[in-house]
């Protein structure tokens, strides 16, 4: 059957010369430039736009704006698929593809519509009551079926090819909403010289003025103001932009949509942009939404808000039907009736009020409109669209009559949109005159104008808009300005607030919340079951949830609950308004923080060299570190062993640039070190280095590293790679809060200095080849000594210390010279067989030597646990000292550091394995665990470091290493954690 066409032959803010092709469920249709998806569908006679959430009832558009609960579509395809998009706010563009949701096989013939017949069983709390058994886990079974049967659109798992962006913006005056009040405010502030940002979610400025017919003084006024706004260089207009939330410090999050531009991601063009605006002042001009009336079957396609009908009529030149019934409890719906009648559409007005304003009565007569005062809609006739309505007196028991119609326009009054003001901390206040909430007291620098304030007069909106714009600009330091603006005469000046109308009876098909299928009956049930608090009511019935967040339903629901409880609506209160005001895509929130821009990557000064020379990389925090080199083998398992052998037998060079480096200067530098390290630095001579360990406040080992005294009042500290920033921040914190008397400066020089470690029995020879002319003998540069020298005009720091247990040095060089020096060292010492080694080998060499590192320094272990207890000074105070004296931390049976050697060849020793004594039951947390494991080229066996209950008191004992993830167990022996050179002869060579 061919659908009727509802496009009018003239009028509307559309471009009839520009046709746009789009599709719905694969069916091609045609709209016009300026159409929304909703208006284009209505123009094509598509009133059935989807199925409802729970009962799969046929639904049509209720509104023409962001409050729309029914007309949700899945737009796009493949990776661009975006579900739950409102057709009413979607600007039509050529090639748009839309699908109706929550229906199968089609919206017209939906199998799950059977739910509608089961509605009496599916009321509030149905799931909670029904799916509670028979076992505790039953819900897990039911859930997937329930979710499949009910719901909205579905997201896809494909990569989104579009690009999203974020940006920051600043304004003296931010005006949210470009209706008459917002435009007036923006113009006044702009003329005063303020930097103004005007935000409008629509693609046209005007708000409710867009509902007025074209050839009117209102339309001319709108055009003039828009032109003037555009001409102001200090005013930025953001169309197609929604204010999502208001946050502390006048920070407002916006999302700007650019789909209409068909952005090309390859050219860096973004589909959506999240804008964070920081404004000195905010003018809220967010308007109001019309409330539905509640009667049986008020959700049938063809039942629409009266203002929406007027919007489609005058803005899009679309008439939603051939014969209209206007049901109202206030004056505002009369404008719709008049406009319909003037187009020759037969109209009946059913006004619940007995007394009608004489001027309205006269106009209805003049236009041939049938006016039924004291009359309400009782029920709607028709299935997939309205066919008529059953009318009755506004009070119970009056005679019922039928009226045929295919368009039912309803108006239950107006609710100001207090969402954003509520985000900003302005508590809503109930206003009985309009039966709605308005913002309470505004904070300094915040202003509310227009319908938001509960005044629906156009003249008021313009006057107060100008005043707010002027005041906001003045507060931002602009102006003063003598500026007035008069409002045009408009039909919409007859707007009235409208009182709440109590629905008839408890019909299970009188909907309060259209999106979540919540009926009057559901609210009654919730009330009877004790869910009377508005927050409980919301969660028990799902009222006010979903993508529309109850914009059209909240007040009606509150009124019903107030009636049931016998209290005023003001006493019921509201639920909490939270951002976002309307749905926002995850893509927009993520912006460009995806893929390689997801998080920062830190690269060593030698990174490119490693890349060019076959290094494989591993992530270490933000760092990318050279893991192993292909010269040593094709896999990490083979390569790191070869690299270890090189160091134990000759000499290897590793990149240590990632170490944290801190410059410490000042007369109290030594005192600072004494306080943060457990060991003393008082007697460290200039030119010497000392290993230090620092504790956290809670006495656990925080970090370790070496610190070199460069001068009496200057030190060069290194930290672990992982804790570099933490250590610096912590020292700064202590100096700025606890130790303000200390004269010390700490500065990160991690990026100033590149570092390379040269290790192996031939390390000194290699250095002598690389740095000819410098005395590097043991006498000149002993173990834990430091030399500052100049090579080829470049200042170097040479520190002799060892992580591997071999003779070793660390060379610090200004970062820009790192590649040159690295190349030079490798070339000079090539005759000794020097080669680069990676992180895996370095980490394995330290296990052989028994040095603790990040895996042991996990903020859980004490000095004693790690075998470092003897380092602690008894003669000075240091951070963590007092707590470390607690008896429980001195207990002999604490888990403490041990070495572990495998006893069963052929079975791997694994990091994380749980340790048990022989004869223990293999379950639970055991007696400890393995922290670090490696193949030892010295022992030719797997060795490990671990924490074991009682530690080295069990040396020589056999244990079981259990790895439950692979169901493995193997025997091992507790040994000393120092596997090589316990006397330190190699490193002192």
């Amino acid at each position: 059957m061919r659908s009727p066409c509802y496009r009018l032959e003239s009028g509307g803010r559309i471009n009839r010369a520009q046709a746009l092709e789009f599709s719905l469920d694969g069916r091609m249709m045609r709209g016009l430039e300026g159409d929304s998806l909703a208006s284009a569908l209505l123009a094509n006679g598509m009133l059935l736009v989807g199925r409802s959430f729970k009962y799969h009832r046929p639904r049509g558009f209720l509104s023409a704006g962001a409050e729309e609960p029914n007309g949700l579509f899945t737009l796009g395809e493949e990776g661009r698929t975006e579900p739950n998009v409102q057709g009413t706010t979607t600007e039509l563009f050529d090639g748009l593809r839309a699908q109706r949701q929550n229906c199968w096989p089609s919206a017209e013939l939906d199998v799950m519509a059977v739910n509608s017949w089961l509605a009496p069983l599916l009321g509030a709390g149905f799931y909670y009551k029904t799916f509670i058994g028979p076992t505790r886990r039953s819900w897990m079974f039911y859930e997937k079926f329930i979710r499949r049967a009910a719901g909205l659109g579905r997201a896809v798992h494909r990569r989104d090819p579009d690009r999203y962006e974020t940006r920051h913006a600043f304004a003296d005056v931010l005006v949210i909403g470009a209706g008459p009040a917002g435009m007036a405010a923006a113009l006044a502030a702009g003329r005063a010289g303020a930097r103004v940002v005007l935000v409008e979610q629509d693609w046209l400025l005007g708000g409710s003025l867009l509902w007025e017919p074209l050839e009117t003084p209102t339309a001319a006024w709108l055009r003039d103001i828009a032109v003037e706004l555009e001409s102001l260089a200090n005013l930025e207009i953001l169309r197609r932009t929604t204010a999502l939330g208001v946050y502390d410090g006048n920070t407002v999050a916006l999302v700007e949509r650019r789909d209409h531009l068909r952005p090309n991601a390859e050219l860096g063009e973004s589909r959506q942009i999240v804008v964070t605006v920081r404004a000195r002042t905010i003018v809220y001009a967010t308007g109001a939404v019309e409330r539905p009336l509640i009667f049986a079957n008020n959700d049938r396609p063809g039942v629409m808000l009266a203002s929406a009908v007027r919007c489609y009529l005058n803005r899009f030149a679309v008439a939603g039907g051939r014969r209209a019934l206007v049901a109202t409890n206030n004056d505002s719906a009369y404008a719709t009736a008049f406009d319909l009648a003037q187009l020759g559409i037969p109209v009946t007005i059913a006004d619940q009020r007995g007394q009608i304003e004489p001027s309205l009565r006269q106009q209805t007569q003049a236009l041939g409109i049938e006016l039924l005062a004291g009359t309400a809609v009782i029920d709607v006739l028709g299935g997939r669209r309205v066919k008529g309505a059953l009318l009755g007196g506004a009070s119970e028991g009056t005679r019922r009559t039928r009226r045929a119609c295919d368009l039912l326009c309803m108006s239950g009054g107006w609710s100001p949109l207090v969402h954003l003001t509520s985000h900003g901390g302005i508590k809503p206040r109930y206003c009985p005159e309009i039966a709605a909430f308005v913002p309470g007291e505004y904070a300094e620098g915040h202003y509310g104008v227009g319908a938001l304030s509960g005044s629906f007069s156009l003249a008021d909106a313009v006057t107060r808009g100008v005043e707010a714009g002027r005041n906001a600009a003045a507060r931002a330091g602009c102006g003063p300005l003598a500026f007035t603006l008069s409002a045009p005469a408009a039909q919409s000046a007859i707007h009235g607030g409208g009182a709440f109308s109590s629905p008839r009876g408890r019909s299970s098909k009188a909907f309060v919340d259209f999106q979540n299928d919540v009926t009057v009956k559901d609210i009654h049930v919730a009330h009877q079951e004790g869910y009377q608090s508005v927050e409980h009511l919301k969660r028990y019935t799902t009222l006010g949830m979903g993508t529309d967040q109850g914009k059209t339903s909240n007040i009606n629901a509150l009124a019903i609950e107030a009636h049931l409880r016998g209290i005023e609506i003001s006493a019921v209160g509201t639920t909490t308004f939270r951002p976002p005001y309307s749905p926002v895509s995850f893509g927009a929130l993520a912006g460009r923080n995806v893929r390689k821009h997801f998080r920062p990557t830190r690269r060593s000064p030698l990174h490119d060299w490693h890349v060019a020379h076959g290094a494989a990389f591993t992530e270490a925090g933000a760092w990318l570190r050279a893991w192993w080199y292909r010269w040593a083998g094709p896999t990490v398992e083979q390569a790191y062993i070869e690299e270890m052998r090189l160091v134990r037998g000759a000499v290897g060079l590793s990149d240590a640039s990632t170490l944290g480096k801190i410059d410490i200067q000042g007369p109290d530098a030594t005192e600072l070190l004494n306080r943060i390290y457990v060991n003393s630095f008082d007697n460290l001579p200039v030119g010497k280095t000392r290993y230090g360990v620092m504790l956290a406040d809670d006495r656990t080992v925080f970090d370790d590293g070496s610190t070199t005294r460069l001068a009496e009042t200057r030190y060069f500290m290194t930290t672990t790679t992982a804790h570099a920033a933490e250590v610096l921040s912590w020292m700064e914190f202590l100096l700025q809060t606890a130790w303000t008397d200390l004269k010390v400066h700490v500065t990160s020089v991690t990026d100033v200095w590149a570092a390379m470690a040269i290790a192996g029995p031939k390390a000194r020879s290699a250095l002598e080849l690389a740095l000819p002319g410098h005395d590097l003998s043991d006498a000149r540069l002993p173990y834990m000594g430091c030399l500052e020298l100049s090579f080829a005009g470049v200042s170097l720091r040479l520190i002799r210390l060892s992580f591997s247990g071999e003779l070793a040095y660390e060379i610090y060089v200004p970062a820009d010279y790192a590649v040159a020096l690295w190349d030079h060292v490798l070339a000079s010492a090539a005759p000794l067989g020097i080669k680069p080694i990676g992180l895996e080998a370095v980490a394995s060499l330290r296990i052989e030597k028994g040095h603790v590192a990040g895996l042991e320094l996990d903020h859980r272990n004490t000095l004693r646990d790690l075998g470092l207890g003897r380092m602690a000074s008894r003669s000075k105070a240091y951070v963590g000292r007092e707590l470390s004296q607690r008896p429980t931390l001195q207990a002999e049976e604490r888990w403490s550091l041990v070495g572990i050697e495998r006893l069963e060849p052929g079975k791997p020793l694994r990091g994380g394995a749980i340790l048990f004594g022989i004869g223990d039951k293999i379950e639970g947390h055991g007696r400890g665990y393995i922290t670090s494991v490696t193949w030892s080229t010295v022992r030719e066996n797997f060795i490990a470091l671990g924490l074991y209950q009682g530690g080295l008191r069990h040396i020589g004992e056999e244990i079981i290493c259990a790895y439950p993830l692979r169901d493995e167990q193997l025997r091992a022996r507790i040994v000393s954690p120092v596997f090589i050179d316990p006397k330190g002869e190699r490193l002192r060579a």
Binding site: E165, T166, R167, H168, A169, F170, R195, N264, L267, G268, E269, S270, T276, R278, R592, N593, K596, H597, R599, P600, T601, R602, R603, S604, P605, H607, D608, W623, S657, D663, Q665, G666, P667, A711, E712, T713, R714, K743, H745, T747, S748, V749, T750, D751, V752, W753, F791, A792, G793, V794, P814, A815, D816, Y817, A818, V819, A820, L821, H824
Partner: protein
């Protein structure tokens, strides 16, 4: 002789990019051959240090935190109540001179030249590109030429300096420089950009 190398050496092989409409509305590059030294006083010695630095350099120091003063090829930035960053060009490396002038009891002098990479962006749209990551008002009334700020750009610390109406310099930590470069050139994509290495010799 050891040769200095830029951390951005690798990205030099990347080409310029056309933006929307086939235009290249921006220029992006690296500035090399500059020096940075940090001078800081203790709270009790702030005035003394300022006098000493003024005498050593022969210039007045900026009075307020966030102020900068250009004197010849030197740029003096007051980065904290008692802290200054001083940028110089080429062989005008003043770190050693300041170290000998500032006694340890008065304050500290730390050479930071190698810690940062200077990436610049120039063009009428440079502000829009930077606004994609910087939460700083870059309007010329609020952040005019010679304004600077120590801030964060896309999770990393940076110093931003406006060197002219259309040109901004980002002093980024050397180890994050490639990452910042990738972010910046990606942000500049829709405008199109010409890579310019003339200042990185």
């Amino acid at each position: 002789m050891l040769e200095r190398s830029s951390v951005l050496a690798r990205v030099r092989s990347e080409g310029s990019r056309d933006g929307t409409g086939g235009l290249r509305r921006l220029r992006i590059g690296e500035t090399r051959d500059w020096n940075l030294v940090q001078v800081a006083a203790f709270s009790a010695t702030a005035a003394e240090l300022e006098d000493t630095v003024c005498a050593a350099l022969g210039v007045e120091l900026p009075a307020r935190v966030g102020d900068a003063a250009a004197v010849g090829t030197r740029l003096l930035c007051r980065t904290g109540a008692e802290q200054f960053w001083i940028f110089t060009r080429g062989s005008d490396d003043i770190a050693a001179a300041l170290q000998s002038a500032v006694a340890p009891a008065m304050g500290s002098v730390t050479a930071l030249s190698h810690s940062r990479t200077c990436i610049w962006i120039d063009g009428a749209h440079s502000r829009e590109v930077l606004a994609r990551g910087l939460s700083i008002d870059l309007d010329s009334d609020a952040f005019g030429p010679h304004s600077f700020a120590l801030t964060g750009l896309h999770h990393t610390p940076v110093m931003i300096l406006r060197s002219s109406a259309t040109r901004f310099e980002l002093y980024v930590l050397r180890t994050f420089a490639v990452w910042t470069w990738e972010w910046l050139t990606d942000a500049a994509l829709p405008y199109g950009y010409e890579l310019d290495w003339t200042e990185s010799a």
